[in-house]
């Protein structure tokens, strides 16, 4: 059994742009912005970076294919640069590439870049999935959208646990209210207004039973990380760095759709990736050991089932923890302290790295108004695809 990469990779610098409708900036501009912040933070220059990864999903509507837009925009001097894509988990895939390069000894310092510019399609919501699902599926599958695909999980969850539509929607609303309260404190968030449970519950339906405020925004943004060996981190930053405790990803085997045991109230890839991540990080009791969560709250229902899939809340009992304020900023395990996808929106390639950015700030006590007291382990959860057909990354971070 391989020993994993626990404590073999350090994050020495990170950058994150303001997320939002960046009408006047290109994806390239956004990459330069986050890159400038990260290199300054790390105290290195471009020539110190030996390898780079770039995560972007809907390349057709923004930078185009290949890693060249990244190497070209950042003027990376003919180093290895690779573009990765794994639906909404693309940001963490970029980070995984860079982290594995350092852990393997292939290089000492690597860049993980994530970027997405979604707002040039001319309409709201994510770009049409039709082209993204492959030539055969386009002719077979319904004309699905992301809200619709996740809404089906809410329908199932309410049914299984006997929640009326109103009871279920109220639990989901509290998730969004909590994230908005956090996002309001974050100058880099896209949506910075607090909302009430009533507002969320009364928001127009996007995909039954999910309303507008159950859905994350669609925005432009970039985030990146510079990773290095712990020895270099020590030399450059003293104690001011964090390390990767675990980095796992799980892609579906197709069981959920093709083999009918899956009951539709959980995400199997989250369960698989987190189980492996806890083992890699040496975490035995997540509810007691994890200090904060940055989850893939593309929709409120996703965050709800993720609480259970990560073994934080007992199965079917997330509502009790939500009602008790367990995940609020002042709760036992704050979830989405930065506002989450809910308030940042979801520039796909950037989101996974934006989550790590918040863990980084919190673990290094740099989160200002949002600072959590003495966090030990911070967890990111980056989910691509749909509940019935997904790919999920789970990362765990901490101080050395």
């Amino acid at each position: 059994m391989a020993e994993g990469i626990r404590d073999k990779v350090a994050i020495i610098g990170m950058g994150c742009t303001k997320f939002g409708e960046q009408w006047d900036k290109s994806a390239e501009d956004l990459m330069v912005d986050s890159f400038s912040e990260a290199t300054k933070d790390a105290g290195i220059s471009t020539k110190d970076i030996e390898m780079a990864w770039m995560g972007v999903c809907f390349d057709e509507v923004n930078v185009g294919k290949s890693a060249i837009p990244c190497s070209l925009a950042l003027k990376l001097p003919f180093i290895p640069c690779t573009r990765v894509e794994n639906f909404c988990a693309s940001g963490t895939e970029s980070f995984r590439g860079a982290a594995y390069a350092v852990a393997s000894g292939a290089c000492d310092i690597a860049l993980a870049m994530g970027v997405e510019k979604l707002k040039d399609t001319g309409y709201g919501g994510l770009p049409d999935f039709g082209q993204a699902m492959g030539t055969r599926n386009r002719m077979l599958l319904p004309n699905i959208t992301a809200p619709g695909a996740f809404a089906m999980m809410a329908t199932r969850y309410f049914e299984k646990y006997g929640l009326t539509r109103d009871e279920g929607k109220e639990a989901l609303a509290k998730i969004s209210v909590k994230s908005h309260a956090n996002g309001a404190k974050n100058p880099k968030a896209h949506l910075r207004r607090e909302v009430t449970v009533e507002q969320v519950m009364r928001s127009p339906i996007i995909a039954e039973p999910l309303g507008l405020f159950d859905c994350c925004g669609v925005s432009d943004g970039s985030a990146c990380a510079i990773v290095a060996t712990p020895e270099i981190a020590k030399k450059l930053k003293g104690d001011d760095f964090i390390t990767v405790k675990a980095l796992q990803i799980a892609a579906t085997s197709g069981e959920e759709l093709l083999y009918t045991d899956w009951d539709g109230t959980y995400v199997k890839t989250t369960r698989e990736a987190s189980r492996r991540a806890y083992a890699e990080a040496g975490i035995k009791n997540p509810r007691e050991e994890i200090s904060m969560l940055e989850l893939h709250d593309c929709f409120s229902i996703t965050e709800m089932v993720t609480f259970e899939d990560l073994q934080i809340s007992p199965i079917g009992k997330a509502k009790e923890d939500i009602d008790a304020g367990f995940f609020n900023l002042d709760g036992k395990i704050p979830s989405q302290p930065d506002g989450g996808l809910k308030c940042f929106g979801h520039p796909i390639g950037a989101s996974g790295l934006r989550m790590i950015y918040e863990c980084y700030l919190q673990l290094l006590s740099r989160a200002g108004d949002r600072q959590i007291k003495d966090p030990k382990f911070a967890l990111t959860h980056n989910l691509g695809g749909f509940p019935a057909m997904s790919v999920c990354s789970v990362g765990i971070f901490g101080r050395k």
Binding site: T121, G122, Y123, G124, G125, D128, G130, Q131, T135, R136, N137, R138, M139, L140, L141, P142, N143, I144, T145, P147, G148, A149, A151, M152, M153, T155, R156, E159, P204, I205, I206, A207, E208, L210, S253, G254, E255, L257, L258, Y259, T260, G264, A388
Partner: protein, 484 residues
């Protein structure tokens, strides 16, 4: 013995109330007040003559062995393709074997009866043992005209064969005239007509008696012994009965105020309705009219009492939803263009080479079943998805289109583009195994319930206008009321 062995029908569930048309257009055409009665069946936004024909065919061959069908004759004047054999598309959708002789029969309203004669000819010639006839039409009348009231959409199907014949074929008689009562030039959307009094006096009242008496004389039938006569015209034709010693109750009702004039499908639909009530020994006459006339003579046999109940006219008439929005009708039928937004303009990908390769999956909803663990899977897989099995290349074809299932979960999506928002889709667990991710149609959100029984219906999934392609597949619908 050669004759009918099964039958089926398909009538779209939307029934446009004719008063809604009159309320919208009566200011322009007050003369339509007299015909603005009852309702007419109209296609949903995802239906056309081809999709309706396939559903009628599926209802007709339900429970029967499709492998014996050697011919498919598709009658319609409103087929989606001028070039690309529509009957071959239907044969693919019905998962018939490839050794099938398929033909489109079109050009006039007697296409329905002409298709039946062609099928019977093929059987009599010994060219095949079973032939399926599908007939469908969805013609449009221009807003403000009488045809807008009269035309309705429907499909019907008849299976002919040599075994288990429920109605023996006794003979046919055909006339062909270029009597241009109505017409539609290539590429035109709406029908045009000549004066109605001329159609009645110089056409119908001369050509029909000539055809019916011609058939009677040729085949030695005494009109007085006829049990039911199906005259495919959207009117009460019993007035012409006197001359032929036919009492009014012998005229099969033409469903003017429930379905409307469904063109080439009307003769077959009326035959299906007659068969639903026929007793052994009944003599049934079918008359198709348009550019001449065809007459077919049938006599019901004892076998008709043994055929399991078909989903035909009674069941289809009962499965209905009143449509009172004239505007919806205009959008669904393509008469009116609407703002689809940029999302709705996104080009539909139609890789015809992929459609060809995966035609059984896409067009017939044939998936795979693992021969080792018996798990049905869709879309088709090579490696079994059952984690306890994972057998490789041990799959056999498995059809889902003719099976029922239960709704596992669903949503009603306001973001996805559809001509009838919200887009309802969900996961369906099929009886016998297999989980399908499907669009829903012919249902309102309020009627969607987890665990409700559902079945499949063949639909037009998209129209790729840029490439001139209509894409089809199966959607889920609430399980229909069984034929009574």
């Amino acid at each position: 013995m050669i004759g009918i062995t099964s039958y089926g029908a398909y009538i779209p569930w939307n029934r446009l109330q004719r008063q809604s048309i009159f309320q919208a257009m009566g200011w322009y055409s007050p003369f339509t007040y007299g015909i603005a009665k009852g309702e007419k069946a109209v296609s949903n936004h995802d239906e056309d003559s081809l999709s309706m024909a396939v559903n009628a065919g599926a209802n007709c061959v339900s429970g029967l062995d499709r492998g014996k069908i050697g011919g498919l004759f598709l009658a319609s004047t409103t087929l989606p393709y001028d070039e690309r054999m529509n009957a071959s598309i239907a044969a693919t959708a019905l998962d018939l074997k490839s050794q099938v002789s398929a033909a489109d029969i079109t050009g006039g309203l007697k296409a329905g009866t002409t298709a039946m004669i062609s099928a019977l000819d093929a059987l009599q010639a010994g060219r095949m043992n079973q032939a399926l006839v599908l007939a469908a039409d969805s013609r449009l009348g221009k807003p403000g005209g009488a045809y807008e009231h009269m035309f309705g959409d429907a499909a019907a199907a008849v299976l002919f064969g040599t075994e288990n014949v429920i109605a023996e074929f006794k003979g046919s008689f055909s006339l062909s005239y270029d009597f241009a009562d109505q017409r539609r030039a290539s590429g035109e959307k709406f029908n045009r007509n000549w004066e109605e009094r001329w159609i009645r006096d110089a056409g119908i009242s001369k050509i029909l008696p000539e055809a019916i008496m011609g058939a009677a004389t040729k085949h030695g039938v005494n009109p007085a012994n006829i049990s039911k006569i199906c005259i495919a015209l959207p009117a009460d034709m019993s007035g012409m009965g006197k001359k032929m010693m036919l009492t009014p109750e012998k005229f099969q009702e033409s469903m003017v105020n429930t379905v409307g004039d469904c063109g080439a499908a009307l003769s077959v639909l009326m035959l299906a309705a007659a068969l639903e009530n026929a007793k052994p020994g009944d003599q049934i006459v079918v008359v198709g009219f348009g550019s001449g006339a065809d007459v077919l003579l049938f006599q019901a046999t004892e076998e008709i009492t043994k055929l399991p109940t078909r989903r035909a006219v009674k069941a289809c008439l009962a499965n209905r939803k009143e449509l009172t929005s004239y505007e919806k009708y205009k959008v669904f039928s393509g008469i009116e263009d609407i703002e689809t937004g940029i999302r709705g303009e996104a080009p539909a990908a139609s890789a015809l080479s992929v459609l060809w390769k995966d035609r059984r999956a896409i067009m017939a909803y044939v998936g795979t079943r693992c021969k080792e663990c018996k798990t049905p899977q869709f879309p088709p897989q090579r490696i079994c998805a059952n984690p306890a099995c994972n057998a490789k290349d041990k799959m056999e074809p498995y059809s889902f289109a003719d099976k029922k299932g239960k709704l596992f979960t669903f949503t009603a999506d306001m973001l996805a583009f559809t001509f009838d928002p919200p887009a309802i889709y969900g996961l369906v667990d099929m009886d016998g195994g297999g989980r399908l991710w499907m669009d829903f149609t012919d249902v309102e959100v309020k009627d969607m319930k987890v665990n409700m029984p559902v079945e499949l219906s063949f639909r037009r999934k998209y129209v790729d206008k840029g490439r001139g392609i209509s894409g089809y597949s199966w959607k889920a619908v609430p399980a229909g009321k069984e034929a009574n």
